[in-house]
């Protein structure tokens, strides 16, 4: 009972927040509602017994990435989005169709997949130890590579935002 209640509440919250992200005209509001979406998503993760991931999710996404977004929005002084022109309406309509189609596809796929059986297996808890164990044994190489990736990202960001030297 509990699980279902929490699931529906927080998934509804997530969807609402996501919709707001996409539809609002104010960029700051968009970022902030994404933060809200992140939080409810983290709770969903907890529901799925992925404790470590939930924590990291909040730390990294809400705490770092979205804050960065906010900084840039403030820095650039991005104002409200202008009212839509004619092309915008077109995009909205076509976009709507595309999205609907996509939703249909998801429905079809899920229906097809569930026919092949989705038996529940014993629940594994995603504690730090468990995940960590995996990370440092089986998935060690990707782990190291991601650190290299981070390094590259940093260098890239620095290089890109340098003022051009005359």
């Amino acid at each position: 009972m509990n699980e279902a209640f929490f699931f529906y509440v927080f998934s509804g919250l997530t969807l609402l927040a996501a919709l707001y992200v996409v539809l609002t005209k104010n960029p700051t509001y968009a970022v902030l509602s994404l933060v809200a979406a992140m939080f409810s998503l983290a709770i969903l993760f907890v529901l799925l017994h992925a404790y470590f991931i939930a924590a990291v999710h909040i730390l990294v996404y809400a705490g770092a990435i979205l804050v960065l977004f906010l900084f840039v929005v403030m820095l650039l002084g991005v104002g409200r989005e202008e009212t839509a022109g004619r092309s915008q309406t077109l995009y909205r309509i076509f976009g709507g169709w595309v999205v609907l189609g996509f939703l249909m596809e998801i429905g079809l796929i899920v229906k097809a997949v569930s026919r092949t059986g989705g038996a529940s297996s014993p629940v594994l808890t995603g504690t730090i130890e468990a995940v960590g164990r995996l990370l440092f044994t089986r998935y060690f190489l990707p782990f190291e590579i991601t650190s290299v990736l981070l390094l590259v990202g940093i260098i890239g960001a620095v290089v890109l935002s340098r003022k051009e030297q005359v």
């Binding site: 996501a18 976009g95 899920v110 995603g126 981070l150």
Partner: protein, 100 residues
């Protein structure tokens, strides 16, 4: 009761919303934001699978995607700043120097 399918459908909806955002948004920054939504939808489905298939690899994968997302945002924002510096606007309608 709450099965894998529920989470998958939720993930699908989130993804759809993110797609709509990409198509509709004119501001480059907000487009990037919608991309984040896409990422999260994918993460959700990964974790759901990890839970219902009993394999923690899903969660490990989410870990990695988060790292990648972080890098991507960093670079993306740097590019956006450069764009703003060059064109004085972030409105994608007015950025079309790559037109034929």
């Amino acid at each position: 009761m709450i099965g894998l399918n529920h989470y998958l459908i939720l993930s699908g909806c989130l993804f759809a919303i993110g797609m709509y955002g990409i198509i509709t948004r004119r501001n480059a920054l907000l487009m990037l934001l919608s991309v984040e939504l896409l990422f999260n939808a994918a993460n959700l489905s990964f974790v759901a699978y990890a839970r219902y298939r009993g394999d923690l690899a899903g969660q490990v994968f989410v870990f990695f995607t988060m790292v990648v997302a972080a890098c991507e945002v960093a670079i993306g924002l740097a590019v956006a700043i450069l764009l703003y510096r060059a064109q004085e606007t972030l409105n994608t309608d007015e950025i079309h120097s790559l037109k034929w």
